[in-house]
């Protein structure tokens, strides 16, 4: 067997392997023998059909093709072993020449990740936004609105009412004519909401993504009334090549409901928050908001830390690895769509195919990069799964599963994989935050470790 190798960028090796013709003959015999064992051929005991008879039955070409495939697999294993290589992606072996049999294949080498001096990374911890009395009041107000009695009214709309509106909106560039001169209905609307329910408060109008001034424009409307108005849009709205300056609205009020807000007292506290009095409801809300903000702050901190780690890393991978990642990503995305009842083919047909694939490729590349960086961090830091924590959680799950009816029992294997992933991710995040906040510097920095070792032990030092 003659092997020649050629390095191909990035991180690939092209192997050309020439084998002796006798090996092809041997592979042909093996394949024929396998057929002879697998299929019943009249006149012959299984495994006793001569290769030429098998070739006559299944066709010389297909027997040769299978023999080549088998030989290719054998040759690939032998060549990888001889060259001391291992491929991170399946190697596609092709027949270069039939005489003598010569195969060529591209081996994808391990991706390379250099995290640089990641231990010196420092990321400032985002500030934890304080929960003020105003925040608690706003939440209480929202709870009151949710608990309010809804009474249909026939009067002009007021602040705090819940209005059902038909809203149509058309974006207009700065140089376009006055809306009065335009036939709006002749054009497709950029915003078209039928029977949309909106609470008439500044906060709700803003959270619905409507521009400033919308609330004032719809106040005082009577049932069934239609209003036409234009509102300026923020500078960055619309496509960059044709920014929209304003939006022309046609709004009809179809239903109006007034909210009869409950009194803010101890009875309300007991009803909505299971609290003994209003003060304890306030402190409960405050605590829950603080908790949520702590989680959000940690998420933001983690994201910044991951961003810093990734931006300082130099990562390269063979193309086959990205191809595999794209396939995995598409398969996951497709499954997600199908779970929502959206058919994949129809979804793809509505989009620009080349733009879609390039988007998939970019996302897959980002995912691959993150995965490789994290794996390298795990490797360098020697992070392991906390086996005790896993055992504890699995014992809890087994216990829960045993108490669940058989038909509804969860898949413990899948749950274990999920738990392992969560635990490992928790360990990685914890370590990453320690690194970027400088808390782990002492036990991570080998130089500091050595320096500490050299210090005389103040307790056991011999008296000078």
């Amino acid at each position: 067997m003659k092997i020649s190798r050629e390095d191909v960028e990035p991180l690939q090796v092209r192997l050309t392997v020439e084998v002796a013709p006798e090996r092809l003959e041997a592979a042909r015999r093996d394949v024929a023998q396998a057929y002879s064992k697998r299929y019943r051929i009249p006149g012959f005991r299984p495994g006793k059909v001569p290769p030429d008879r098998v070739a006559a039955l299944i066709g010389e070409a297909s027997l040769n093709e299978e023999a080549m495939e088998q030989l290719g697999r054998e040759v690939l294993q032998a060549a990888l072993k001889a060259e001391g290589l291992s491929s991170v992606a399946p190697v596609m072996l092709e027949l270069l020449r039939a005489e003598p049999p010569t195969f060529v294949g591209t081996v994808s080498l391990e991706p390379q990740v250099d995290l640089g001096d990641y231990r010196a990374l420092r990321v400032p911890e985002p500030e934890l936004p304080e929960v003020t009395d105003d925040d608690v009041d706003e939440m209480l107000e929202r709870l009151r609105r949710d608990a309010a009695e809804r009474l249909p009214v026939d009067r002009p709309s007021e602040i705090g009412d819940v209005a059902t509106l038909n809203v149509k909106g058309w974006r207009r560039a700065a140089d376009e004519a006055d809306p009065e001169a335009l036939d709006l209905e002749a054009r497709p609307a950029d915003l078209d909401v039928a029977e949309g329910r909106l609470t008439l408060t500044e906060a709700d109008v803003a959270s619905a993504g409507l521009p400033d001034g919308f609330l004032d424009a719809v106040l005082g409307m009577a049932l069934g009334q239609e209003r036409r108005f234009s509102l300026p849009l923020p500078a960055a709205t619309g496509a960059p090549e044709a920014p929209a300056a304003a939006m022309d609205f046609v709004v009809t009020l179809t239903e109006l409901v007034a909210l009869d807000l409950p009194a803010l007292d101890d009875a309300f506290a007991a009803k909505v928050g299971d609290a003994v009095d209003l003060d304890s409801l306030r402190s409960k809300i405050g605590e829950s908001m603080r908790q949520r903000r702590r989680v959000q702050q940690r998420e933001a901190f983690l994201e910044a830390a991951r961003g810093a780690l990734e931006s300082g890393a130099v990562v390269s991978w063979p193309p086959a690895l990205l191809t595999q990642e794209i396939k995995d990503f598409i398969a996951e995305f497709r499954e997600q769509l199908e779970r929502q009842g959206i058919e994949w083919q129809a979804w793809v047909a509505q989009r620009d195919e080349s733009a879609l694939w390039s988007e998939f490729e970019q996302t897959a590349a980002r995912r691959l990069r993150t995965r490789l960086v994290i794996s390298r961090l795990v490797e360098l830091e020697g992070l392991d799964l906390d086996q005790e924590a896993l055992d504890r959680r699995m014992a809890m799950m087994r216990d829960m599963s045993a108490r669940t009816p058989k038909k509804r029992r969860p898949d413990l294997q899948a749950m274990m994989v999920n738990t392992m992933n969560n635990l490992m991710m928790g360990r990685i995040n914890e370590r990453l935050l320690e690194i970027v906040s400088g808390q782990a510097a002492a036990d991570l920095d080998p130089e500091l470790d050595t320096a500490t070792d050299l210090q005389p032990d103040p307790i056991n030092a011999e008296p000078s």
Binding site: P42, G43, F44, R45, V49, P50, D52, R53, A55, A56
Partner: protein
């Protein structure tokens, strides 16, 4: 009888395959075919020289279905043809 009516099909089995080393080949032949007709048919169709022809009539095989006896296969005549050394028949995949 036309020579293509004499030879029905080659008999391919483990046993006839083994006869290949003796340069012998087996055929199913017409029940009325004579050894001379078989020799002439093989020689003219495959362009080989036949040294010897031996024939045998294989009895039909019956099978019992309860009280009934059912014929599973009809009787056939087979011919074992020995060729001159150096000649061979491709049809047997040898």
């Amino acid at each position: 009888m036309h020579r293509y009516e004499v030879l029905r099909r080659p008999l391919l089995s483990e046993k006839t395959q083994a006869l290949g080393v003796l340069n012998q080949y087996a055929f199913e032949v017409a029940m009325t075919a004579t050894k001379v007709e078989i020799r002439e048919a093989v020689e003219s169709i495959f362009n080989v020289k036949v040294v010897q022809v031996r024939t045998a009539v294989m009895p039909s095989k019956d099978r019992r279905w309860g009280r009934k006896t059912v014929r599973r296969s009809g009787k056939l005549k087979k011919a074992l043809v020995t060729l001159r050394p150096g000649d061979s028949l491709d049809v047997f995949g040898a």
